[in-house]
Amino acid sequence: MARPERVPEMVDIAVLLKQVPDTNAKITVSGDRVDENAVNKWSMSPYDEFALEAALQITQATGGSLKVISCGPARVTKMLTDAAAVGADTLTHIMVDDLTSLDTTQVQTLLAAAVERSGAGIVFCGKQAADTNSGSTGPGVAEILGSGCVTLVSEVSIEGDACSALRPTSGGEERVLVDAPCVIAFDKTRTDLRRPNVRGIMMAKKKQIEVLTAADLGVGIEVGKVVVNAHAPPAEKPAGQKFEGAESVPEVVTMLRKEAKVL
């Protein structure tokens, strides 16, 4: 007797995206703040791209819906449209004019509220954003939602109502199972990112973006508990010494041993 074929259920996934200065962009400090207007290119944070790609593969295979959520100022629209161009189904923009004025708890509360509103039981995000490199969002949102979370994930698959995820350990890697609702925070994955085609780009332009405020989400925003005092360029290193030719290697090795004491 033929085994009945298992029909995968439709899996809806919420993907949290952050727009950051492109990793190749120059960061300039003017006055005592990073000058965001001087950033020449804003991009989807690189690890979020892997989260989006992984979610696209699952939602497209199961016929589920991919719900993109981002928190930030008006410029975020561009990134949301980019996500729609590769296949995101719904776009939600939590409008916050100055993200740096909020502390982690506040941002996570907004994102968690938007996830609940979306109805998705599975949340994908990057392991950290390329601006602060903190890695707080995934686990923090999971805590608010009362769900499990796996971070630094390089591969994921859906098994019934759970996610099976590959994560690194001190001795190698392990595959873990976490029941939905859950949050998966992605490292770089082994699949290539898809690029939008012309049709995708045209369709994305017409895609509606749902714009929400904190009040719409029922979240009260008080003054953040962390006060940023200043931004500064990194301390200039004193100029190093430069040597010509391979014949200088013995001298450098001697200095590494005797002056720097690192060999």
């Binding site: 708890t105 490199n133 499990g148 940023v228 190093g240 040597f243 030719g245 041993r257």
Partner: protein
């Protein structure tokens, strides 16, 4: 001020970053309580100078890693005030969870702390430095090797509490690491290669030197992407941020995103044939030479030190 330190443990004891967390707590004027997840490394923690007391937090949930369960169990044992953890994968996840549980802020990957609390951390992968202050309770993770460790000679009392929590993450299967090579995030010396090496086969020259001096082998994003090296080797803004004692960059021009990941290394040696390569701007010792010429001499000189 009350400060709780979440100890970072290894498979068989205490991770050395724990002594750095204790030193940072002492700098805030505290004799911290050190919580040891699963009780691992408790006696070692008690011997760190400046520790007020050590609490072994024992529970079934510590048999495998689930950040949610660990944070619930550790949170039950931690007092109010400031919580310090290491900015390692586990430390960051526990810190984010603890902060969220208490509705207090978390500030990750901090490189300097002063009473107040005044917090310094790199942002945009070190392209800028942010100083901030937090008046109330908060959770802070510290970048490994950014703080000098506290000495030993402490003799704090060790107590044990039982706290466990529901585990949501179940281990299905474990895979051993294929190579025994050191991880760039853990190594004191890193030798990294870039496009200048010409092709992936020439990484064997870096591996030979790494074996000679006990170094880890790193790589730039360009060669990880183009030559298919493991992402775990990638140093830079979208790879690992490293702070070794010595970083040797071979055939790496020094793209802004690579510099962001290694510029805090204590000493940087750059070997590149292009005298104008940006990597020389962060190098303590720059050698303008081809790798083909420089590496054999380096191998010979390092052999003399053994």
């Amino acid at each position: 001020m009350d400060v709780t330190v979440i100890a970072e443990s290894t498979d068989d004891g205490l991770h050395p970053v724990t002594a750095q967390l204790v030193a940072a707590a002492s700098a805030l004027g505290a004799s911290p309580t050190v919580l040891c997840p699963g009780g691992r490394g408790a006696s070692e923690a008690a011997a760190i100078e400046g520790v007020g007391r050590v609490v072994s937090v024992i529970g079934d949930c510590f048999e495998s890693f689930d950040g949610g369960a660990w944070a619930a169990a550790l949170g039950a044992a931690a007092g109010q005030g400031v919580i310090l953890a290491a900015a390692t994968p586990k430390g960051r996840e526990i810190a984010a969870r603890l902060a969220s549980r208490r509705s207090i802020p978390v500030i990750q990957d901090v490189t300097d702390l002063a009473p107040g609390i005044e917090i310094t951390r790199p942002i945009y992968s070190g392209k800028a430095i942010e100083t901030s202050s937090c008046a109330g309770d908060c959770v802070i993770t510290l970048r490994p090797n950014a703080f000098e460790p506290a000495g030993d000679g402490g003799s704090a009392e060790v107590s044990t509490v039982n706290h466990s929590a529901d585990v949501a993450v179940a281990i299905q299967e474990a895979f051993e690491k294929a190579s025994e090579r050191l991880d760039v995030a853990e190594a004191d010396i890193i030798i990294s290669g870039g496009r200048g090496l010409g092709n992936i086969d020439n990484f064997t020259h870096l591996e030979a030197i790494a074996d000679q001096i006990g170094a880890a082998v790193g790589a730039s994003r360009a060669v990880v992407d183009e030559w298919g090296l493991p992402h775990s080797m990638q140093v830079g803004q979208t790879g690992k941020t490293v702070v070794p004692q010595l970083y040797i960059a071979v055939g790496i021009s020094g793209a802004i995103q690579h510099l962001a990941g290694m510029r805090s290394s204590k000493y940087i040696v750059a070997i590149n044939k292009d005298p104008d390569a940006p990597i020389f701007s962060v190098a303590d010792y720059g050698i303008v030479a081809t790798w083909e010429d420089a590496l054999p001499v380096l191998t010979t000189e390092l052999a003399k030190l053994q």
